[in-house]
Structures are given as structure tokens and as C-alpha cells.
Symmetry: C2
Subunit: 147 residues, 2 copies
């Protein structure tokens, strides 16, 4: 969605470095990532979970996963539900703390993540080469202004 809330351009010239044009661009970029990952049958959230599991090199509790991906726990419950249905992840019980459920990546999940990572790397390189090295510093400053 465009989300340009029709903010008034008080500037005579619509120089358009406004919040909404940034968000619009980010949305386009997000779509491109989503589209690329769909080639291997993954969504961005699913890819993110699989990547977290590969990186951890061991099963990770749902609460941990939620924290790593900056989302609420109930979201992870449902995301893992879908990943489990896809056969990319399985829930494993934790004998030490029976409240805790950990997600473990399957062989298929590992393959998908690897394929997704290749796609993302390709996109990343492509994007990086489209940015002038001199502009990177400016973008860094903008990013930190945003934080």
C-alpha cells in the first residue's frame, strides 16, 4: 500500500524526501525481497526464522526466536505452526523446563534456508552496487537519525 497520507507539501517544490516517500521506497524493496524468496517457496518471516535457527546451530525456544526477530511471542507460535505444517521446522520438548518449547530446523528447512540465502545475497550485491560509495555515509547517517 502506498500510504502516502496525502501529507501537505508546504514546500513549493515536492522534494519528496519525506517520511512517506521513504516508506514507499522501503515497501518496494520489501516487495522485491518477498518476490525473490517466493522463488524458493519462502516468505520473509519464514526465511528469517529458518536463518535464526541455522545461525544458532541448535534448537531455539519460541520466546528466544520472538526476541531475535523483534516480534511478540504469540506471533512466533503461529509462524512456527505454519513452518511445522510446511515441514521446515519441528517442535521439540525440553526435559529441563517443561514450559519451554524449542523449534528445530528440519533437513528440508535447511535446504530452503540455504536456497533463500543465495537469493538474498544476490539481491544484496545487486543493491549494494547500485549505491554510490560516497552515498553510503549519507545513508548511514539517515539510518542512525531514524533509530
Amino acid at each position: 500500500m502506498n500510504n502516502n497520507g496525502g501529507a501537505k507539501r508546504t514546500d513549493s517544490e515536492a522534494s519528496d524526501t519525506t517520511i512517506f516517500s521513504l516508506l514507499h521506497a522501503a515497501h518496494a524493496l520489501e516487495d522485491r525481497v518477498e518476490n525473490t524468496l517466493s522463488h524458493v517457496g519462502l516468505s520473509t518471516p519464514k526465511y528469517s526464522v529458518l536463518s535464526a535457527l541455522v545461525q544458532a546451530q541448535q534448537p531455539v525456544s519460541l520466546g528466544d526466536l520472538a526476541a531475535r526477530l523483534s516480534c511478540v511471542k504469540s506471533n512466533m507460535t503461529q509462524l512456527v505452526d505454519r513452518l511445522e505444517k510446511d515441514g521446515l521446522v519441528r517442535r521439540v520438548a525440553n526435559p529441563d523446563d517443561r514450559r519451554c518449547v524449542r523449534a528445530e530446523i528440519t533437513e528440508l528447512g535447511r535446504e530452503k534456508q540455504s536456497a533463500g540465502a543465495a537469493e538474498v545475497d544476490r539481491l544484496n550485491d545487486q543493491f549494494a552496487s547500485a549505491i554510490e560509495p560516497k552515498d553510503r555515509a549519507a545513508i548511514e547517517r539517515m539510518l542512525s537519525a531514524l533509530k
Copy 2:
């Protein structure tokens, strides 16, 4: 959600001007907009629809609204459902083409949009002043590289 898919940092230094850090920053910005608009009881999509209606200065068909906000028609159907339930918009029939349904902003909707626009302007100014003028050109270039 963070969405940093754990993309491999082939660079020795994680300079982090990657796709995912950009998306992460955009997400933070989006949250700030969403949070600001929540002060007046609006979500970003609802604010966008109201703004489109204010700008048009007349009722707009749902298909038109969907096109203006770059989303599919069925999304607009549901968004207008919720806006209508909130009393911010009403559906009006079109005698000329009875297939067509137009959305008309209510007085309450107009008030909310106006309050939202004030908040967004404030945020926009705040954001603009955090960006060095010299950096704006770089950001423009990045934005156009994204398109």
C-alpha cells in the same frame, strides 16, 4: 519484525547498509508514524484513505481509492468497512453506474484526518531537520535506485 534474515556478511566489517538494515530502519520509522497517528485514533491505512478523500474533495469510488493507495480492491472493501463502522466514512450509491460504490468522508472523518495531518506534519518536520541538507541528495539517489 526484524526480518534480518541472517544474511551472511561477506564483508569483513558489517557496514550494514544492506537491504535488511534499511528495511529495519524503515520499519522503525513506520512504527513511529503508526504510534503518532494512534494519538488521534487512526491507523496509517485509515489515515491514508481519509487523506485521499479530503484531497479529492468529493466521494471516490472504491476502485479509485485502491488504485491511489496502491492496493487491491478487496483490501479497500474491508478498509472502508472498518472506516464506516468507525463513522469516518459512508458508502454512497452512484445512480449513473449502479455497479459503482463511492466512499464519502463524514464530518468526524474530516476532523480525524485534520488532526492526523497535524501530527504527520510535525513528524515530517522533525525528520527533515534531522537530515543534513547535503545528505538529501544521496537519499534521493538511493530512493531512485530502489524504484
